[in-house]
């Protein structure tokens, strides 16, 4: 019996089992921690214990520095869609609907999810790396020893700036996307700008815009909280910073994809 246990512990099956349970364990620990940090952050926000100057600084980072990449990703995906469909639609006599199609696509899904991906890669990763570095160089411990709550000092301004800036980024990116779609359609299929923009209005529903902005707020908060939390829990040295950053990016991607699914299910079915 003892021999059997010894062999079992050396077996690949057992190693796989260990790997699996560790992953599952880590998943639920991370999920629980993100939930707890969310509660802590919002308890400060609801008490209005927010450092305005820090929010301003973080907002500049969140919105302005990410704008070029966000605009090009959203703009390009709109241009690609227009290039793919405009020619065919015009040929089939549906040229009047190209603007509507592109607009719906951008407002409902593309604008916000593509902006989300751009923000994760630009801002989420840098938030995680920044806070993880502070963790492994004991700056977070030093902050706690000075009796300043890292949640309040580090998390709150970053989350608030995410909540404020994400909708603005999405609006600008969506407008640029629609404009890009118009230019691309006109070049590819000779569709007039007038025909394009007249149909844009048919594709714009108030509800779509509201849902889009609500999603932007939720995505902004999610990316900031997930990235900060993954950074905050970093362990070890430089390697730990790398692991935390990867984790932040992966978790943010999956989290906003899940949010997107929930929104779609809640509002469009």
């Amino acid at each position: 019996m003892r021999n059997f246990r010894l062999y079992f512990k050396q077996s690949a099956t057992y190693q796989l089992y260990l790997l699996f349970t560790r992953q599952v364990n880590d998943f639920f620990t991370t999920l629980g921690d993100i939930t707890k940090k969310t509660a802590d952050v919002f308890s400060y926000i609801f008490k209005f214990e927010i450092d305005r100057k820090a929010v301003l600084e973080q907002s500049a980072r969140f919105g302005v520095s990410s704008l070029p990449i966000t605009l090009s990703i959203v703009g390009m995906s709109a241009i690609i869609v227009s290039m793919q469909v405009a020619g065919e639609m015009v040929k089939q006599g549906a040229g009047n609907y190209v603007g509507q199609l592109v607009t719906m696509l951008i407002v409902r899904e593309d604008g916000v999810i593509m902006s989300g991906f751009a923000i994760i890669s630009m801002i989420g990763s840098s938030l995680a790396a920044e806070i993880a570095t502070m963790r492994v160089t004991e700056q977070i411990d030093a902050m706690k020893a000075l009796k300043v709550d890292p949640i309040k000092y580090l998390f709150v301004p970053r989350v608030v700036s995410g909540i404020i800036m994400m909708p603005l980024v999405v609006i600008v990116a969506s407008v640029v996307g629609v404009l890009g779609g118009a230019v691309a359609s006109s070049i590819v299929s000779g569709l007039s700008y007038r025909a394009f923009f007249e149909s844009v209005w048919y594709g714009l529903y108030m509800k779509d815009i509201q849902v889009c902005l609500a999603k932007a707020v939720v995505f902004g908060a999610t990316i900031a909280i997930v990235s900060c939390t993954c950074g905050y829990n970093a362990k070890g040295g430089a390697k730990g910073v790398g692991i935390a950053t990867t984790k932040a990016v992966v978790w943010s991607f999956v989290a906003i994809a899940i949010w997107d699914l929930l929104f779609a299910a809640a509002f469009f079915f």
Binding site: Q139, K144, A145, L146
Partner: protein, 240 residues
Amino acid sequence: MSITVKNLVKIFDNKKVIDDVSFSVKDGEVLAVVGFSGSGKSTILKLICNLINLDRGEIETSLGDVAMVFQYSALFDSLNVFDNIAFALKERKEFRKKFNQEQLEQIVAQKLKLVGLEGIERKFPSELSGGMQKRVSFARAIVTEPKTILYDEPTSGLDPISSTLIEDYIVRVKEETQAASIVVTHQMSTIQRTADKVIMLYQGQIVFKGTPKEMLSSSNDYARQFVSASLDGPMQMLAE
């Protein structure tokens, strides 16, 4: 009693890193904690500073802040020296109401003067040498006038002159503020110059207790091995 530690136990990954440790430090007294790397010295400081939770035992400190000077300074690298030192005063409500900008600048200048670094307020930590960073982190720790001060290897990795400077600050701050201090160190010079009492840790337990003088002439095997830096003795480097 300003710091009282009773029957302290801390377990990491099923291993007792601190195993039934008790000691006390009076106001205006410095306790040196010595021992191998990995013997649990930093863990004791982090427990007293409430950065990690204890598993068993009791820790009492006098009212007021517990300050910690970290082994690798742990300065906030996105803030300049002024903002580093003024950090607690700017971010904590009870101080924010008390001091205006002008007073803050006065306090920071005074602390910088204490550590012999006048006029470097606008520099960033990355522009300073290791010894200067240590001195700035020293200034940052004492800015709230703590009643308990913990130093984690304050002189490790410093040249002898910088070490002497830091040792002098430790003694001067102790005399001026009557704080209770704990100094974790490997250096005999730091023990001799700063400490009133010494404890020695090995595998999470206290193996020697006494004054620095007693340590030098002690017949305790552990103390003798440490003082003579000998490979022979009860303490063996464990292979990982």
